[in-house]
């Protein structure tokens, strides 16, 4: 595997296990002292959704497409913004309220590109990556509906 391929292989991960934000940031920075800015986003399970209590949240995905789709988003972020590293970790399976769902971390020389790339990846992930949430509530299980605001957020980056 070429060094480039090794780099890219570490960009995205889909896993049932939890992740450690500090460890992920440290691995992404890897002692690179060109880095001046690290922007990070963590999505977490809320205990209320559309007014109903949430007992568990189950994340289904499309194995085979998921990593490719996330990698395509990361590649596009690297093309658009002046960043050194981008890392996406997305969990699947059954989660509880307050659990971590997704991590996006970006390193750059400057904060503007780090913030932009981090937000870009989240906005695209929300509309392009094949994950689906199913909530268990006191009223029964239900699939989470996609939100128009997520489409609008991704649309803002079109050009």
């Amino acid at each position: 595997m070429s060094p480039d391929a090794a780099d890219r292989a570490a960009d995205v991960r889909v896993q049932a296990a939890d992740f450690d934000v500090a460890a992920e940031i440290a691995a992404l920075r890897a002692g690179d002292a060109r880095v001046g800015a690290v922007a990070t986003f963590v999505g977490t399970v809320r205990d209320v959704s559309e007014g109903a209590g949430v007992a568990t949240l189950t994340l289904e995905h499309y194995p085979g497409m998921t990593e490719k789709s996330l990698q395509a988003i990361v590649d596009e972020a690297k093309r658009r913004f002046d960043v050194y590293g981008v890392r996406v970790v997305h969990r699947v399976g059954e989660l509880a309220p307050a659990d971590q769902i997704v991590l996006v971390a970006v390193t750059s020389a400057h904060r503007g590109d780090a913030f932009d790339a981090c937000r870009f990846v989240m906005d695209y992930l929300k509309t392009q990556a094949p994950f689906w949430k199913k909530e268990a509530t006191p009223q029964g299980a239900r699939w989470v509906e996609a939100r128009a605001s997520d489409d609008a957020a991704a649309q803002r980056w079109r050009r």
């Binding site: 499309y62 497409m65 769902i101 509309t127 392009q128 990556a129 094949p130 689906w132 699939w143």
Partner: protein, 92 residues
Amino acid sequence: MRDSPPVVVRLVYLARLREALGSAGESLALPPGAPARVATVLETLRARGGAFAAELGPGRAVRVAVNHAMAQADDAVGEGDEVALFPPVTGG
């Protein structure tokens, strides 16, 4: 001159659609004749009626990926392609 054999695609149903259709996927032979497109797949399934017509009908948001890449209605599909049907994504 004989007709060419029909294009057969592998269908994958995901999330709410898998539950509503009661199936995780199947093989589907597309009608011979016109070039096969994503729209051909959807029309063929809708013609079955029942849950297929209801879930894939007008006003239902269905997303399609061909060989793991998001696809549009007029994108071509070919022999052996993996065609996934699913609701709008809700991860993150």
